[in-house]
Each structure stands twice: as C-alpha cells, then as structure tokens.
C-alpha cells in the first residue's frame, strides 16, 4: 500500500529538485485570487466597470476574464523567473495565504457595503 519515506524521496530527487515552478504556481494562485477581489471591489464601489464580454452574463464575464488573463500572465512570468531556483516555502506560504484571504474578503458582499 505505502512505501518508505526514504525510497520516495530518492525517487523524487531524480526528477526535479528545484521548487521554483511549484512556488510560482502557488504565488500566482494567490495573486489571481487577489486580482479577482480587486476587480470585483472596483466594480462594486463604482471605480471601474469591466465591459460585458458575454452579453447574457453581463459585467461578470469581463471581470472574470480580465482577472483570469492577469492570473495566467502572472503565473507565466513567475514561472520563467523561478523555474531554476529554490524559493523559501515559508515566505511563499505566508504570502499566498494572505493574498487569498484578501481576495476572498474583497468578493464578500457585506465587505462592499463597509468600503463604499
């Protein structure tokens, strides 16, 4: 069923040792969440309304497609920068969780009322 930790570690070590690509994916996910929160909040407080890319869905289609493009672009850039590097996982963990928390809070409807 399972295997020993040492066996797995030695197999894993034969493939890829740098953690940069993984850390880039995590930070990009945090930033993607943050982008979603920012673009939603800007819309709700009347600062910026993204255009409706899909007429039936309305403004949400523009907001989410813009945020998705920004997330993918950020992920690509971070991946290129970190693909051969080892990044401190503790800092990535803290930054990603903070960005995700901030992004989720900004999509929380009661928060819009507080801000506006």
């Amino acid at each position: 069923m399972g295997t020993k930790v040492e066996d797995l570690a030695s197999r894993a070590g034969t493939r890829e040792d740098v953690n940069g690509p993984a850390m880039a994916a995590f930070v990009a996910a945090g930033l993607g969440t943050f982008y979603v929160g920012v673009i939603v909040l800007l819309n709700e407080i009347g600062v910026y309304a993204a255009p409706a890319i899909h007429p039936g869905a309305g403004g949400v289609s523009g907001r989410m497609i813009f945020a998705t493009i920004a997330w993918l672009g950020t992920w690509f850039v971070l991946h290129q920068l970190w693909r051969r590097r080892d990044i401190g996982p503790a800092r990535v963990y803290r930054a990603s969780i903070a960005l995700i928390a901030a992004g989720v809070i900004m999509t929380f409807p009661p928060f819009w009322a507080l801000v506006s």
């Binding site: 797995l8 894993a12 953690n19 993984a22």
Partner: protein, 176 residues
C-alpha cells in the same frame, strides 16, 4: 416535459460538475491526511501519479463548472422579464430581488457565486500543476505538501459554501 434544457444545464453545472469537483476535493483531503508528513507512510509512485490525476480532474471539473455557470446558467437566471409580466417564476433574479425577504439570495448568495468559483478554479489549477509536475515530490517536500494541503482545504471550503448557496437559490427560485 419533466426537465427543460435550462434545468438540465443547471443540474449539470451544480450536481455533475460542481458536485464532482467537491467529491474529488474530499478524496484529496482524505489522501493528504492519510499520507501526511507525520504519518511515516507515503504513496507508491503509481499512487502519487493517480493522486496527481485526481487533482487534474478536479481542476477540469471546476473550470467546467464556472464556464457553464457563467456563460450558460447565469444568463438564464438574470434574464429580465418582459414588460407587463406578473408571474416571475421564469425569471429567478427578478423574482428574488422583488421580494425583500428573498433578496439576500441574490445580493449575497448569487453575488458570491458570480466570483468565488473562479477563485476555486485558479487554486485547483495550481494544485493540479504542482502535483502533476512531479507527483512523488509532493509527499517528499514538506513545503510543497503544506501548501497543497492549505490550498485544498481553502478550495474545499469555498466550493462547499458555493454549493450550499446554489442549493438555496435553486430551491427558492429554480432555473426551469
């Protein structure tokens, strides 16, 4: 007709796609707990690869959920009623907004459901990428494991919340 195409799309969105993603996330949480760093037991290479495949399937399901939800089901939900129409049963958004006791189902539940599922798809994509890139390393590297566990928990909580809100909305004002 028992089910209209609109209600079938809604069920595909909420039950097949979103529900499938949520079940998959529950399975991932179970395996993360079983193979946690402190347990001393790790998956075989084949099991780690299957674990990666499960995460890829979850990401695909969650992206399908948000795409169908945003571009197929939501336009039906928000379709404004023609002038003079009194029965709003076919116009869920107008039905909810028009009743002060039910308005929160739009202003809180649907407003959340418009955006948060996109976040879950992004988080699931990061998890899928990292697990697929080097499956055994996920269980050999404490930093990667910790990050994946945290994102999976967040993703599961958010997907569950959206599913619950979806049940509430569809119970009161179903797309039909």
């Amino acid at each position: 007709m028992l089910f209209t195409s609109d209600s079938i799309w809604t069920m595909a969105h909420g039950i097949a796609l979103g529900g499938g993603g949520m079940l998959g996330l529950a399975a991932v949480l179970f395996y993360l707990w079983s193979w946690s760093v402190g347990s001393g037991v790790r998956p075989t290479e084949r099991q780690a690869t299957m674990f990666a495949g499960l995460n890829v399937a979850i990401a695909a399901l969650l992206w399908a959920t948000v795409i169908v939800g945003t571009f197929v089901v939501f336009p039906i939900y928000r379709l404004p009623p023609p002038e003079g129409v009194v029965d709003l049963a076919q116009h869920p958004r107008a039905f909810l907004v028009g009743d002060p006791e039910l308005a929160w189902l739009h202003t809180f539940a649907m407003e959340s459901k418009e955006h948060v599922p996109w976040i879950t798809a992004m988080l699931a994509s990061a998890i899928a990428f990292v697990t697929l890139r080097n499956p055994p390393q996920v269980f050999a590297d404490r930093g990667r494991f910790r990050m994946i566990a945290a994102l999976t928990v967040i993703c599961f909580v958010l997907v569950s919340e959206m599913a619950l809100l979806g049940v509430f909305v569809n119970k009161v004002a179903p797309v039909q």
